[in-house]
Symmetry: C2
Subunit: 406 residues, 2 copies
């Protein structure tokens, strides 16, 4: 209720005032660095004692440099254009009514996330700039860090005269608190889960509040018969290995039979540099003896690791059909010199981003020129692909009359 009430004020706040709040938050994060790091250390100690993995502890850990990065991120959001109040279209009807379609905040956003405490300030900054109050619900591993960051941000809001409840953190990290947040339809307008496949599935299954599903990426590279072999090898190498833990990394390679004998050895040579495990169907195994046999489960798996599944296909249409069956709808690429084949692939593959001769790793708010993103939507309702500031808005129709009745 406090978030809803704060959102009513934030909804009509001027760009200047929101930016002042963002800059105050950035300054406050740096000014309170020591305190945030002290709380983060308690999380790290508790995590070590609880036996968290090294990679989880790494995601949890803050440092002065990371806090500077968080502050810098908030300042970059302040510098982006205000997505609210944009007149998207205007029409005049025959009866004289003037109808403006104008962007508005969504209202109150719920963000459910896992171990990274930097999400607390990243998400809060994007929500604030887009005029949305936010209720943050992070994981228990980062709770002390999150409370410290949230306290600092709320104090900065008070300082510039905006309601502190524009940013709230749920301090109860039980499963019940997450479920309750997912069902607060009267107070929360949209939920955005940020995290692994398990978290996202749980939100989709339990929420009654509308959800923007993010993140799972079983991305494909299809090497067409008319591909440039060297380009195919470079794009596959980049899409698979430049950062294996992210959702826009490639997980599966489809190769046209006509070019497989030429291109697969080139690709393997490149991937061997990073000791990537290849799992192939029988035809791929015949060309690359000794690779791991792929099972049906491989086609649907998002490895997030130095592993790539490989299948030889007989046609562009077979590649499209395979992708339709197994893709999570995130990002797919065709490598080909044939523009017609490329256009068929781009039109027929139903994913958020479809690439011709470029790495799937570009599916990212920054790379798309959005300035910042709160996640990558893999659903088709509301917003698809990188979620920048405009994707955190809704619209309203402002209708101007002079007494019209129907």
């Amino acid at each position: 209720m406090r978030a809803k009430s704060a959102s009513c004020i934030l909804m009509t706040a001027s760009t200047e005032r929101k930016n002042r709040a963002l800059l105050a938050i950035a300054d406050a994060l740096q000014a309170n660095c020591a305190q945030i790091l002290a709380e983060n250390q308690k999380d790290l100690d508790a995590g070590a004692q609880a036996g968290l993995s090294a990679s989880l502890l790494d995601r949890l850990a803050l440092s002065e440099a990371r806090i500077d990065g968080m502050a810098q991120g908030v300042r970059e959001v302040a510098a982006l254009p205000d997505p609210v109040g944009v007149v998207l279209s205007e029409t005049r009807r025959p009866n004289g009514l003037r109808i403006q379609k104008v962007s508005t905040p969504l209202g109150v956003l719920g963000i459910i996330f896992e171990a990274r405490p930097n999400v607390t300030s990243d998400a809060a900054a994007l929500c604030l700039k887009s005029g949305n109050a936010v209720i943050l619900r992070g994981g228990k591993e980062a709770i002390r860090s999150n409370i410290a960051i949230s306290d600092v941000m709320r104090a900065a809001l008070r300082e510039v005269g905006l309601p502190q409840d524009c940013i709230q953190l749920v301090e109860d990290t039980s499963r019940e608190s997450a479920t309750a947040l997912m069902r607060l339809n009267a107070y929360v307008d949209v939920l955005i889960p940020r995290g692994g496949a398990g978290l996202i599935r749980s939100v989709v299954e339990n929420a009654t509040v509308p959800v923007i599903e993010t993140g799972v990426g079983n991305c494909h590279i299809y090497v067409d018969k008319d591909a440039d072999p060297a380009m195919a090898a470079e794009i596959t190498f980049n899409a698979k290995t430049s950062r294996v833990s992210v959702c826009n990394a490639a997980e599966s390679l489809l190769v046209h039979a006509d070019i497989a004998e030429t291109v697969l050895p080139l690709i393997k040579a490149r991937l061997d540099e990073k000791h990537t495990e290849l799992r192939g169907d029988e035809r791929a195994q015949a060309i690359l003896p000794g690779i791991v046999p792929a099972t049906d489960a491989d086609w649907g798996t998002e490895y997030l690791d130095y592993i790539l599944s490989i299948k030889v296909v007989d046609s562009l249409e077979d590649a499209i059909a395979h992708i339709r069956t197994y893709s999570s709808g995130h990002s797919e690429c065709i490598v080909t010199e044939n523009a017609e084949a490329a256009e068929r692939f781009l039109n027929a593959v139903d994913s958020a981003a479809v690439y011709h001769n470029a790495s799937t790793r570009f599916t990212d708010g920054g790379e798309f020129g959005f300035g910042a993103e709160i996640g990558i939507s893999t659903q088709k309702l509301h917003a698809r692909g990188p979620l920048g500031l405009p994707q955190l808005t809704s619209i309203k129709y402002k209708v101007y009359g002079n007494g019209q009745v129907r």
Copy 2:
């Protein structure tokens, strides 16, 4: 699964082919009029036996004229611009990537609706034109009519060489079939419930598939202190009584204290012409002696009847606060000659359509110039207000490179 498979073909079907299918459907509806009416008569007989109300039987009843109207509606959809394949924006990135944002079909839509069999052809036509396969799940009262209409439409699809499964009707009208449809995330992309508040609540609560919520309208007219009294009376009269059973009808009147004594008697005189029951707070009762005392429950009630609740407020801000508390976010109007007050109201009231000096009855796809609509969205995710063809699409990013890696 059949819908998903059909949607893959429909997704890339040309405008010409989709229009050919729509015209074939329109012709077939008229050509098979007798057969549809015969099945409708069976529904009417069963409904009368089951003791359905006269108004429900009226909504259920088809006639040659109604079927002509349905066919005409389908032809009008054929005449609308194709919402698919529109390049919404195009950017070139510094690395040479060209990124096109293009409208695409949503995929498979599930429409859950109640007694009106004309929804079957209306919804199917809009879905077909927007490249979406549709699974229709109507109420049991209209099942024979719906099957007849759906069979006719599917035959027309076959005739023009499109998969008949672009349009499917769930013949099982049990509660279980609706719930199953609501949870088919692997095959259904979006659900749109069309019907009363109970149906919509049930879908929101039970669905795991993303939902576009439609329809409930607790709409307000606020008569500002600077209103033209005659205009206030005309707009209130129109918004309340021109059609009481629809979601854009006004249910509640707020009047500024400074003008209440002047304007309330004028409004009452107009509403008395249609024997409208007025339910007022104490201050309204003092001005209009003998009207029904309003209770707190009145402020949140969508009467859909010749009843209007009336409250006297002390300020524009009090009116805005009342609307924030009780509105369903559909349509609200301020009547005032003061442009500043109007702009404050239009910005601060968070509803799909906000009106200055015009009746809330204009919230309608046809009145907005959208040509046709599948409902009025009262949620903020994806689409808000009248849902025309563009609101039945998603987007994808088509990215053109020449070997870019990250």
